[in-house]
Symmetry: C2
Subunit: 342 residues, 2 copies
DNA sequence: TTGAAAGCGATACCAC
DNA sequence: GTGGTATCGCTTTCAA
């Protein structure tokens, strides 16, 4: 009898708590209590239960537990493009922190498209994500409405407007851009081109503002262009480099803009870095792999990820003090790509 | 009465199907059928239901549906390190494909640690992942046992031993490495150093093998070293470059090894690429951003991701023909970092 | 054409 | 100390 049951149970690839209880000859309540330590269970039964679990290779069905507990243990992470190293760096660290708190990360890559973002966020909400970490693809993303309606804790990272009412983790974009611009100005550059991504994003707007402030305070003028892709940056910058009175320095406001600008520089044939300097936001590993090593503004990726996670965790544990707004500091890293103009 | 109910319902941030049914004055079955089109519902009731859904901002609880359907709609993606662009490229494409089939991706970053990998995979199984796409951190990962015991469809990508019995998607590592080595040999290099990652991984072993075959067929000799990190590659390569009879060419078998080797090259002060050539596996965007542009073996990242996804999808739909083994082709991309030896 | 109700698997309250 | 059982929210069969 009993052995027949065992046979059958071994065959079942997905045993349930009832299979375990039956084999161990106890109630499901007892199995659950052994597993979760919810209440005391006598040593004899403990062993019976553990043996049965072992025998069956039982793995509790988290879906069922989640439904019951009204907590999915899932956090949604929404980014505009996961292949950008800034975002994959943040993802990597957050995933690690989440795993250590027994949370899972569902990734949603919006591909910079608001409608995709909306669909993906809705899917996350349907899946009962307990919380969201979001790098919205636009500041006034309509998804924010969905999120606040469902009262899902959410933390905005990197982007996101000031008024949104959500917790947000950002860097001191304006000050950092100012420092980068100062560096170029101190080297003697008078004609600087800033290559910005979408300026309707608050973080980009702040960088532009910081840049312009530095330029203005020295009574210099400068030009700012906005591009939406590496390819567009390439074409725009190339055009400018080939036109008369070209800039002697470029400030790329994102890694993508740096890639586009660099290609344009090489294509233009201008001697780099002796005849044109470049500094870029985001300090990536590759920037010290080939020449010239790139001067950068380093964002504290780990710090951003950790702050975002701990902020979300606090919200999940329901400490809803006022809205959190963290602003982390960037660092200027001077390398070879910025030189005095000739 | 009715309006009181509405009031209350509006306040509830997470209405259930019963709230909807109640407001619409129909049964939950009808609501479900309207939502899923499972069976015909009269137009009048249709409208009642839709209005109620709209009014409440109802979003079905996927957890409950999953429990009932015994399908979570979640796929686990396990990678050794998401910050490596090869993996984030694959993730990006798979996430897109998954979303378009209404699946969600839970990301597990094993950080190249087998015990972390095991824990993360177990968590995925508890969460009832319907399937797994796995780049195991070692070929004979013990997790494979857990997975086959639970009979979860799984596809191995990039790595994973031949005997494992799982579907697997790989590239023609051996042929590609051979082509890369041929390129160097044809340029006239006689003293080549291959910098490999962990050689106990089958894909790396295949690359080494292809490399050595090419070298042997020309009756040349070559050296192969194995490093586990960028830093180790840096130190090892630097040592070799500083020793007598140094190589005239380096073949980096992964992006990480390329990063380490490049730093060592610059540090050694050897003229690059005129006095030392370098070719690398993995064609990354940065390799054409600074100088010299790097010659590479390009892996078909999109093709890998798409093949992995479609293979998994077929398994999920239960077409268990024999085991699938796909092998995609790599491309040799010649740029500036490989030159004739002096 | 529609509603009532039995589950999916785990948890925790109420009994004993 | 332990067991029975209602419940989480949704789907689907059975009955009407």
């Amino acid at each position: 009898m009993k052995s027949a049951k065992r046979q059958q149970a071994i065959i079942n690839p997905r045993p349930t708590i009832r299979d375990v209880a039956e084999i161990a000859g106890v109630s499901t309540a007892t199995v659950s209590n052994v597993l979760r330590g919810t209440r005391f269970v006598g040593p004899a039964r403990q062993k019976l239960v553990r043996d049965a679990i072992e025998l069956l290779g039982y793995n509790p069905n988290w879906l069922a537990a989640s439904l019951r507990a009204r907590r999915s243990g899932v956090i949604g992470l929404v980014v505009p493009d996961i292949t950008i190293s800034f975002f994959s760096g943040i993802l990597s660290r957050i995933e690690e922190l989440a795993a250590s708190s027994n949370y899972q990360i569902i990734l949603a890559d919006a591909q910079e498209k608001p409608e995709r973002e909306r669909d993906r966020v809705r899917a996350l909400l349907r899946r009962q994500a307990d919380g969201l970490i979001l790098v919205p693809c636009s500041d006034h993303s309509e998804v924010l409405g969905d999120i606040s309606r469902q009262k899902v804790p959410a933390v905005l990272v990197d982007r996101g407007s000031a008024e949104s009412g959500f917790d947000s983790i950002q860097v001191d974009n304006s000050a950092a851009a100012q420092a980068g611009a100062e560096h170029l100005l101190q080297l003697g550059h008078r004609n600087i081109l800033a290559v910005a991504a979408n300026p309707s994003l608050q973080n980009i707007a702040q960088r532009i503002e910081g840049f312009q402030e530095a330029v203005k305070s020295r009574r210099r003028t400068a030009r700012v262009i906005s591009c939406i892709s590496v390819a567009e940056a390439y074409w725009e910058v190339l055009g400018i480099l080939r036109a008369p009175s070209r800039p002697t320095a470029i400030f790329a406001l994102t890694e993508q803009m740096a890639l586009g600008s660099l290609r344009a520089i090489w294509e233009s044939g201008i001697e780099f870095p002796s005849a044109i300097s470049l500094i870029a936001f985001d300090d990536c590993e590759w920037m010290t792999a080939l020449r010239p090593f790139v001067s950068t503004i380093r964002q504290p990726i780990h710090g951003i990820a950790e702050t975002a996670w701990s902020t979300l965790l606090k919200r999940l544990q329901g400490r809803p003090r006022g809205r959190v707004r963290e602003e982390l500091k960037c660092t200027l890293v001077i390398r070879e790509s910025t030189t005095r103009p000739r």
